[in-house]
């Protein structure tokens, strides 16, 4: 069992699935010889050759449009968008085809496609390298969206995504790509898509986060627990769509209070949907408004100002306290 970071863990998952199933192919810009700009596909080109690890021309719609064709013809393409900020070119192929072909053909045609994309801020890169737009994809029926938060669940989710019969948007929180290591077993681990995880049990407040926000969220939870006699239940969303309302709703029913941490802008983010589901199912259990700690509805700032906008542990802590004190 090796201690891996998220980049290595995804790489391991890809490698193992490729070894097992030669219908799995990897494609994208610079994923081959270069091993991907973040090195997630490092070594795969050397190991599996250029027919299976394909350096494509620079055209995202082309990458996903052809991946859809490959998937229709029985391959299991794992396409990389170099950054989620360049994934919008594929929206019509996702909305118009990947998400629809199953229903269009009443199950006769399927698109087992994985679209990997690093997303979110924190790497001091150029414009378009720091958005968090999972909600844009999660609003599309027929598309699954998953976001790992640690090396171990990243490996287990990429394997699940590859084996999944549907298009899966696999969003990689690049801020924590190399932030920490975790033991990742060599042997197979698959995590069910469509399930959230309670990473810490508690009874006074439910704290929901995903991706890179898990770390400041957990830090904030610890701070609050150190400062007051409360216990906080922390949920890692993991699957964004189709969402696991059940786990959240049950937790809020127990705690009566909820804070949601979201790196994306406020309006129409995942947090809004979570609030709507809490409203649907357990409104009467709420002892305070659900509190969403989010980015602001401004155009994603360049990195010089980025950190002033991103939710951090301090702000999360304050909002947890506000919610507890409500």
């Amino acid at each position: 069992m090796a201690k891996l970071n998220i980049v290595q863990a995804i790489n391991l998952g890809l490698d193992q699935e490729m070894a097992k199933d030669d219908s799995v192919v990897v494609l994208g810009e610079d994923v081959g010889v270069d091993g991907g700009v973040f090195r997630v596909t490092d070594g795969l080109h050397a190991k599996y050759g250029e027919e299976r690890v394909i350096d494509t021309p620079l055209a995202e719609s082309g990458i996903i449009g052809t991946s859809i064709g490959m998937a229709l013809a029985g391959l299991r393409p794992v396409a990389e968008m170099q950054f989620s900020g360049f994934s919008y070119h594929i929206f019509h192929q996702l909305e118009g085809h990947a998400s629809r072909l199953r229903q269009r053909s009443l199950g006769q045609r399927t698109v087992p496609l994985v679209v990997r994309m690093p997303f979110g801020g924190g790497v001091r890169a150029l414009e378009h390298h720091s958005e968090s737009r999972e909600a844009t994809y999660a609003h599309l029926p027929g598309v699954k969206v998953v976001i790992p938060s640690s090396p171990r669940n990243a490996r287990a989710l990429i394997v699940a995504a590859i084996r999944d019969p549907d298009p899966v948007i696999f969003m990689e929180p690049k801020h924590v790509y190399r932030a920490f290591r975790e033991e990742v077993p060599e042997t197979e681990e698959v995590m069910e898509i469509g399930r959230s995880e309670i990473v810490q049990e508690g009874s006074d407040l439910t704290l929901v986060a995903w991706g890179a926000m898990m770390r400041p969220a957990l830090r904030a939870a610890v701070e609050v627990q150190n400062a007051r006699k409360v216990s906080i239940e922390v949920i890692d969303l993991l699957t964004i769509a189709p969402m696991d309302s059940h786990t959240i709703v049950e937790s809020v029913q127990k705690t009566g209070r909820c804070v949601i941490v979201q790196e994306a802008p406020k309006t129409l983010g995942i947090a809004s949907e979570i609030i709507a589901r809490i409203n649907d199912h357990v409104l009467l259990y709420l002892e305070a408004p659900v509190n969403r700690v989010t980015n602001y509805d401004v155009v994603t700032p360049y990195f010089g100002r980025e950190l002033d906008f991103t939710p951090d542990a301090g702000r999360i802590q304050r909002e947890i306290e506000t919610t507890l004190d409500f």
């Binding site: 299976r52 494509t56 082309g62 064709g69 199953r102 009443l106 199950g107 399927t110 549907d166 898509i193």
Partner: protein, 364 residues
Amino acid sequence: MPRTQVERFSVSHMQILDDDGNADPELEPKLTKEQLLEIYRLMFLARKQDQRMLKLQRQGRIGTFGPCTGQEASSIGPAYALGDSDWLVTAFRDLGARLVRKEPLINSLLFHNGFEEGNVVPDEAPNVLPISIIVGSQALHATGIAYAMKYRGEKAAALTFFGDGASSQGDVYEAMNFAGVWKAPVVFICQNNQWAISMPRSKQTRAVTLAQKAIAAGIPGLQVDGNDVLATYAATKEALARAYAGEGPTMIEALTYRLMMHTTADDPRRYRNEDEEKAAWEKDPIPRFRKYIERKGIWDAKKQAALEEEIKGEVDATVKEFESRKDFQPEILFDHVFGTKHAEIEEQRAQFLENLKLKSAKAE
């Protein structure tokens, strides 16, 4: 050295049948009598189904559709050239090609009456994809499929159709460019029917031919008379041979004409004149091919009369079957959102069924 020509390109045009049904003996493809008659039958069937659908639409018995009349040769010739393992990836005006590939006639009615059932093909038509409406987007699928064929070492290719309008879409350019890089076995057929709804071909691009779009992708491009079914067949056969041999993609511009409205929601009198239409009818691909088979001595008025009778019967029977179909369960859509079960979808299915029940209770 200071200013030198570094590359030269050309675009050729191919025609085999002349207007009177005489074939160029050097280029005439080797097709058996049965094959020739099968092609003719398919062209005729597509035309007759188109005409019937127009009536059904006008009577409100199906929804909007885009007639294929005039494009039987540009659609059927290429499809007829395909082998059993090849894939067909079409847009929305390719009834002819789909019939060649054994899609049931009823599908066109189901589809245009708003039921996904019209996209389900039987085992005899294994590699036919559903109609793709997003102009040009399907060309990329063909490239991806072709890549898969090549990757698995199968002797198979993908054939995709798109229009002159579609040739302006980035997706089509990317599809050809990717295919070029990958030497993917694809045949791109641009049915240049001169119009994209109200836009004449001349306003779509300053390029003089659409075949020259292939040059940007570094792949072979050819223009053919798209109303000459022997030419569309032969050009596609040639392209397929290249594809099977690992020589990569080809683009073919088939020059034809959209003889009818864009769709039944469209009125071409707003934007084109009747003289142009009349002149185009003179080049109708069906009489041209009929002259050819008549000259060959394998067709005559009697056979024609019998065929008309037979096809009328087939179309009638299909319409009847279509109108008797009542098996459209609305809730099956919940079955096909995902290939896996999810609580949220199942809860919504239950709500949906409840609402449906309440709605029909009220309606009664």
